[in-house]
Symmetry: C2
Subunit: 191 residues, 2 copies
């Protein structure tokens, strides 16, 4: 691709690279312009603020949550919760570069949580994981799973795991936490 191309998808990819290297706070719109060899005005044309860039960087993860929820909500519980755990594990690996930015970066995590709360995504994820009439144990399990998934990762060894090991580990942790170990979701009924 020629330098000087400031298409939105190139801006977002550059931002993600720079966020991973310098953190959100350490990255400026000027740095994104320099990285792509375009003018700051060309960046401004698509994104007026760094918050707008962070939103655009996070957008694929949020879109993934929303699609997944639409899909699993066609199934009854407990398969619904099990399918959500499996799908979140898959997406955590799929959007791994993105998650690791959010996981490491408090500014991005805060903006992401505000966006998720604003769009009601968080409530849907919680409600689907815990199911109706959840007891304390299930509530804490669901909160722990979501915090552990998209909250600040505390362990560099986890970030170093292979994709398939990480996906299996997240899926299995989620199922153990939520008491979904025995639920076969491979041929879940639809309602």
């Amino acid at each position: 691709m020629p330098r000087g191309d400031a298409a939105p998808e190139r801006l977002v990819a550059s931002a993600l690279r720079l966020f991973a290297r310098h953190g959100v706070a350490g990255t400026s719109l000027q740095m994104i312009a320099d990285d792509l060899g375009v003018t700051k005005a060309a960046v401004y044309y698509h994104f007026r603020t760094k918050d707008a860039v962070v939103h655009a960087v996070l957008a694929p993860a949020f879109a993934g949550f929303a699609e997944l929820l639409d899909e699993v909500e066609r199934h009854p519980q407990p398969q619904r919760a099990a399918l959500l755990v499996d799908g979140l594990a898959r997406q955590a690996v799929q959007h791994r570069a993105l998650y690791s930015v959010v996981l490491r970066d408090v500014a991005a995590a805060q903006l992401g949580r505000r966006s998720a709360a604003h769009t009601g995504l968080w409530d849907r994820l919680r409600a689907t994981l815990a199911g109706p009439q959840a007891d304390g144990g299930t509530l804490v399990g669901a909160a722990m799973f979501l915090s552990g998934l998209v909250g600040p990762a505390v362990d560099p060894d986890v970030l170093a795991l292979d994709d398939d090991v990480l996906e299996r580990a997240i899926r299995s942790a989620g199922r153990r936490l939520l008491g979904l170990d025995g639920v076969d979701a491979t041929d879940a009924p639809r309602r």
Copy 2:
């Protein structure tokens, strides 16, 4: 206690109350002075910056972690990990007001994580929970437990649980996550 008393422990208690109400970012040294009916100079005498106040507010939780680690490290695995899970669940409830400030407040959480990393507490907690030669599943389980315990709580319903329900739920979630369900830690051997 008479107004006008600026003893450090009163400053810290006032800061915790104000942080809970206004967030860390929304609380000033002046507000702490006003809350206690003392001059800002009296606050300054003990704490030069808000970061110093946040450190002092977090100190009991960190001291609790360090004491707990010293205690459980006298026992062999897997009792060591099980005792740590049980102790962290107990402390989460004991320091509940403090945790809920940290849990809700990104600024405090960030400072807390930096402090914990700086003092090596985080590494000890991780290593003790996961044990030696941990596989991917155990690493993810330990990271998820710690994130869920001291990371950003995502569920207001969890904050509303009774102390004993919350403690049991955290203990049981940690034990399930780390495969410690069958470990009896009531009469753990010492080495």
